[in-house]
Symmetry: C2
């Protein structure tokens, strides 16, 4: 029987990896559909809002990586025990999107001079403001992003970290012990270790 | 007795307005704390991750506008009846964030030449691709963004629309009947009409 889930994405980790982590953690068999970059223009029109990752199941295409992770998180009891806990998880996840978007705002700039000009305040001002707060959030939450326990936001964090580090140009956890420990905690979960050992190798 | 809720934000609609809409719709009395722009540097350090809007209640500061709207939506039964419905709402809301970020990517550019260069593909390519799909989503969902019924995502859409239009430089709903109808449907809800009549006037 074909797997129930099919994840369509570029042949990279980036926004697809948190979804792959959660599917692996939940022992939910999935088809890991990675297309080559040159095929994207022909695939794009068939994707909702022309974007990937797309997770297809029950004959339906779902999109938006954070929304998908939240949905899978609910199935896996990783989405908080009440509305307040869910809010804490959502707040942390959207902070990670802010981080990603800030880094992307210079990373995807094609004009080198503009890129360098945009990069400087993000590396020298934004990250030194943002990262201690994120690290402290994990510290205050007993080693997790929210509610003192594992949630889908932790998988999101560990899943996008290679991508985030690639854009930043360095390991953003290097000076932040709580962030580094959280990353390791997720990566050392047996199901995640197993997934990492068998996944295709990609830089980002 | 002081209101239970306090919303702290710039003296604009933008990301604060969907929250004000939901609080108004829910008849949840709130202090509409608008600070002047010149005070922001002194306020910023006391805000979670240095950002606003912040909604304070039960002695706690919550942040991230989408996360707050989802939380309020749950309290108001505007968040879907099951996980699948909640996913549809979340997908739509995060699409609106994509729209907002795309427009912001040129709008906040200070170099005029760079700004014009960035603006062109977004106005000429991104919007003509994105808006028909958003319009069609509303059409397929019986006049709402998800599940054929009112949800917090509809409030989010109507709430950020002035801000989005300001960045785009035109009313993005002008050629899209379903989007225009959805906007009017939300704005004509009695509680929202009442809020709009009494709120402070601001361009954005």
């Amino acid at each position: 029987m074909a797997p129930k889930y099919k994840l369509t994405y570029f042949p990279v980790k980036a926004l697809g990896e948190p979804i792959r982590f959660l599917l692996s953690y939940g022992n939910m068999e999935f088809e890991d559909d990675r297309f080559e970059r040159e095929k994207w223009p022909s695939i794009k029109p068939s994707m909702p809002f022309g974007q990937v990752p797309v997770l297809e199941f029950d004959g339906k295409k779902t999109h938006q990586s954070i929304a998908i992770c939240r949905y899978l998180g609910k199935q896996l009891k990783l989405a908080g025990d009440n509305d307040w806990e869910a809010l804490q998880i959502d707040m942390a996840a959207d902070c990670l999107t802010d981080l990603r978007m800030k880094l992307g705002s210079f990373f995807y700039e094609s004009d080198e001079a503009v890129k360098e000009k945009k990069k400087e305040p993000i590396i020298k001002e934004f990250l030194p403001f943002f990262l201690p707060r994120l690290d402290n959030l994990v510290k205050e939450n007993g080693g997790y992003l929210a509610n003192g326990k594992l949630s889908w936001a932790d998988f999101y964090f560990a899943g996008i970290l290679d991508y985030v580090n690639h854009m930043a140009g360095f390991d953003i956890t290097k000076d932040y012990a709580n962030l580094a420990a959280l990353k390791n905690k997720v990566l050392e979960l047996p199901a995640i270790k197993e997934w990492i050992a068998k996944r295709p190798v990609s830089e980002v």
